[in-house]
Each structure stands twice: as structure tokens, then as C-alpha cells.
């Protein structure tokens, strides 16, 4: 009994011990990040609620908002992971261009077909060394709300989103694992990915 209490006590101490430093050193979540997401979200809703836009105009607006809100080159590089360093500078440049087109192709349609969803910010928390996660809920008419987390980093050009997690599923990680699979399937060559990307985005423009 004594030993058992002992174990309990020491594990409780361990638990407290490991909590204290993180509580002391945890930086507060940056309130600017939440204001940034609010503004970006409002702009996005206002833009796509306007149904008078032609498809081309809407895609162009989407591209503008994408660059205002997201650090696309950072995300592209992060998604390529360890293969970034294996790629030649020419491959890196082509990859970034194709990645951007893939993002626009993938997501623009969802915004063009916007149908009245709204969002609300439900919280913020510090993430990693210097980032902030802004948690939001996307409210729909035809279903329960969807939890979306925006990982925001403050850089030279202000706040930018570097990852989005939908119900705990990171878009960046999903793409990273997908791209890694394509590269591995192609014998570990980055060129295999570039080929697949060319085929994907080339076939639609």
C-alpha cells in the first residue's frame, strides 16, 4: 500500500513538475492573429456573397485573398518536406508555381459556389515557438458546425496563415503525405511529383 501511494504521489509530482515550466514559459496567444482572421474572414464572406461576379472574376478575387491571407511559398515548401533539399533550384521554382496553381484550382471552386456559410472565432492559443492557432467554427444551414483551426505566423509582411486544420485534420500534413507517396512511388525522384502536378493543373487550364 505504501509503495502504491508512493508511486501515485511521485507520478502526481511528475505531472505537476512537467506542467509548471510550460505554464511559466507559455507565451500568451497573440490577439492580433485573431483580429487578422476576423478581417480576412469578413472580407472573404463579403466577396463571395456577391453573386454578380463572373467565374473568372471570382477566381481572381480568390487569388488575391489567398495571397493576402496565406504564406503560399512557405506552405509549398513545408508540404514538400525533406524533398525540398533534394530538388534542384529549377525544380523548386517550377514546383512552387505548380503548387500555387493546384491550390487555386482546388479551393477556388468551393468559394465560387459559396452558399451562405458564416464563421465565428471561438478561441486562440499559442502554437509552437511563435505561432498562434485561431480556432473558428464554420456555421452551415445544412449541418452541424465544422471546427477549423488557422495556424498564423507573424512575419515581415504581417500575419499569414501557414496551415489549416479541419476537424483536427491538417491540410498541410495531408498534402505532405500525399506528395511523399507520389515521390516514393516514382522511385524517390522529385521529378515524379512535378510530372503528376503538371498533368493535374495542366489538364484544367
Amino acid at each position: 500500500m505504501l509503495t502504491r501511494r508512493h508511486i501515485l504521489l511521485s507520478s502526481a509530482m511528475l505531472a505537476i513538475g512537467s506542467m509548471v515550466p510550460s505554464a511559466v514559459f507559455a507565451q500568451a496567444a497573440d490577439p492580433g492573429a485573431s483580429a487578422f482572421i476576423q478581417k480576412l474572414g469578413d472580407e472573404t464572406v463579403a466577396t463571395f456573397a456577391n453573386k454578380g461576379l463572373s467565374r473568372e472574376q471570382a477566381v481572381e478575387k480568390f487569388r488575391t485573398l489567398l495571397y493576402a491571407g496565406f504564406d503560399v511559398p512557405y506552405i509549398g515548401r513545408w508540404v514538400l518536406g525533406r524533398y525540398w533539399n533534394q530538388a534542384s533550384p529549377a525544380e523548386q521554382t517550377e514546383y512552387q508555381k505548380l503548387f500555387e496553381r493546384l491550390i487555386v484550382d482546388t479551393y477556388a471552386n468551393r468559394f465560387v459556389d459559396y452558399s451562405g456559410q458564416t464563421f465565428k472565432i471561438t478561441g486562440t492559443r499559442p502554437e509552437g515557438d511563435a505561432d498562434t492557432s485561431v480556432t473558428t467554427q464554420i456555421l452551415r444551414q445544412d449541418g452541424p458546425p465544422i471546427g477549423v483551426d488557422w495556424r498564423v505566423r507573424k512575419g515581415g509582411s504581417g500575419y499569414k496563415i501557414i496551415d489549416v486544420a479541419v476537424e483536427g485534420v491538417s491540410m498541410g500534413l495531408t498534402q505532405r503525405q500525399e506528395f511523399a507517396s507520389v515521390i516514393q512511388g516514382g522511385g524517390g525522384r522529385v521529378d515524379a511529383l512535378l510530372q503528376a502536378l503538371r498533368q493535374k493543373v495542366g489538364s484544367r487550364t
Partner: protein, 253 residues
């Protein structure tokens, strides 16, 4: 105390039984954390089964779900979903208890009682409106809460993406399912087949557009689904309340 002394030996036995699984699962976590990959030693076989499932989906399930959405009005489909969910809620209560989530067990029990009585046998999800949202729990998640890793990724014929741990959990849930026990006792297996069919169409009908999008935008549909599945399961096991081990987002220069 009584609950703890009752469940503890069971948990211990279960933990021993699952030890092999656990060992297999351990290999998975550092990889997943790094974001490099998911343990998938059976990939060639999995891809074949995945292709078969995808063909069955394209030929049967997706068209059937489309017809279902076109023919059945919203309130009917809502009622079907509520009814199916209500049927598996006893299993959810059991799994919440096994996970030590008393609050979750309470909500699930409240849902079962509210929807069965006020919701006319589960046809109406009154409980969600009353602030008791549906949360899916299964024995695979319970094993995860107990600290057992996912083990290798497997694609089950017709049932789709899973893992060694989650497939084990599915087998346990299937055997423990009260409806199944009842159907076997009353020689009414037809009920089980009907439920399986309707349930598949119900689930598929909610993600028609999402799956189309995913297929169209993926370079490697198999790898995308594998990544989504493994992340989704980890999120479900966390129940949104514990901090997850996130991949590193370094500063590039």
C-alpha cells in the same frame, strides 16, 4: 471505486491481449509525428483492395446515395440518420465508460433516453437541439485512449480504410452490438443486412460532394485517403481535449 475495481482487471486483461498490437503500433507514432508517412507495409495489397472498393463505390454506393438524396426529402433522411445513430448509441455509452469519459457516457445516455422517448424511437434527434450533440465512439478509439497505437494501415474489403487496431475494435463492436445479439437470438439476420445497407447509403450521402472534390483534386487518391483517415482517427481519440503532438513548422530562410 466500485467502477474502478470492476474495470481495472478487465483493462489489464485487454492490455495484455493487445500487447502485440501495441508493439506494432509504437513504430507508427514517430513517423506520423514527423509527417513523413504512415506505417503501411501492406500497401500493394491495400491498393488493390482500395481500387476494388472504389469501383464498388462508383458502380453501386455513389449512384445509390445520389438516388437516395434525390428521392428522399430532407426530413426523411434526417430521421433515418437519427434512427441509425440511436441504434448504436448503447455501444457509444459502453465505449465512453471504457474510456473513463463519464461526461461523454452521460451525454450519450441522455441522448439515448431523450431520442428514444421524446424522439419517437430515435426518429428525431431532439437531444442535439437540447445541447447533447452526437459524438461517435467505437472500440478502436477506446483502444487508442488506452494507449495502443494504430498499427499498420489496412484497407478492408467494402468497409474501407482501417488499421490493425481499428479493425480489431470493429470486430469487438460488431460482436457486442445489442442489435446484433437481438437479431441472432430472434433469427432476424435480415435486419442486420438491411441496417448495414441503409447505413452505408446514409453515410455516403453526406459526403457526395466532398469525395468528388477529393478525387478530382488528388494526385494520389489512395495516399490522400490514408492520410485523412489516420489524422481523423487521432483527432477522434483525442476528443478535441488533449494537445496533440504537431509536426514541426520551422522557419525557412
Amino acid at each position: 471505486m466500485t467502477l474502478a475495481s470492476f474495470t481495472r482487471p478487465f483493462i489489464r486483461v485487454a492490455a495484455v491481449v493487445m500487447l502485440s498490437l501495441s508493439a506494432a503500433g509504437c513504430a507508427n507514432s514517430p513517423d506520423a509525428q514527423d509527417g513523413a508517412g504512415i506505417s503501411d507495409p501492406l500497401e500493394p495489397v491495400n491498393r488493390v483492395v482500395f481500387g476494388f472498393n472504389d469501383a464498388a463505390d462508383t458502380l453501386l454506393l455513389r449512384p445509390a446515395s445520389e438516388v437516395y438524396v434525390a428521392v428522399a426529402p430532407d426530413p426523411v433522411r434526417d430521421a433515418v440518420q437519427s434512427f441509425l445513430r440511436n441504434l448504436i448509441t448503447p455501444l457509444i455509452v459502453a465505449n465512453e465508460l471504457l474510456q473513463g469519459d463519464l461526461n461523454g457516457a452521460q451525454v450519450a445516455t441522455g441522448r439515448l433516453l431523450t431520442n428514444t422517448i421524446l424522439g419517437v424511437g430515435g426518429l428525431f434527434d431532439v437531444a442535439s437541439t437540447a445541447g447533447m450533440p452526437y459524438q461517435e465512439e467505437d472500440f478502436g478509439q477506446t483502444l487508442g485512449v488506452w494507449g495502443i497505437g494504430s498499427g499498420p494501415y489496412v484497407v478492408l474489403p467494402l468497409l474501407g480504410p482501417s488499421s490493425l487496431r481499428d479493425a480489431t475494435g470493429l470486430a469487438v463492436d460488431t460482436v457486442a452490438d445489442p442489435i446484433r445479439v437481438w437479431a441472432y437470438a430472434n433469427d432476424a439476420k435480415g435486419v442486420l443486412y438491411a441496417r448495414a445497407g441503409v447505413s452505408a447509403i446514409d453515410r455516403r450521402s453526406h459526403i457526395l460532394r466532398e469525395v468528388d472534390d477529393l478525387k478530382r483534386n488528388s494526385l494520389d487518391y489512395y495516399a490522400t485517403v490514408r492520410s485523412l483517415y489516420s489524422q481523423q482517427r487521432r483527432a477522434q481519440i483525442r476528443d478535441n481535449n488533449t494537445t496533440e503532438q504537431k509536426p514541426d513548422f520551422p522557419v525557412f530562410n
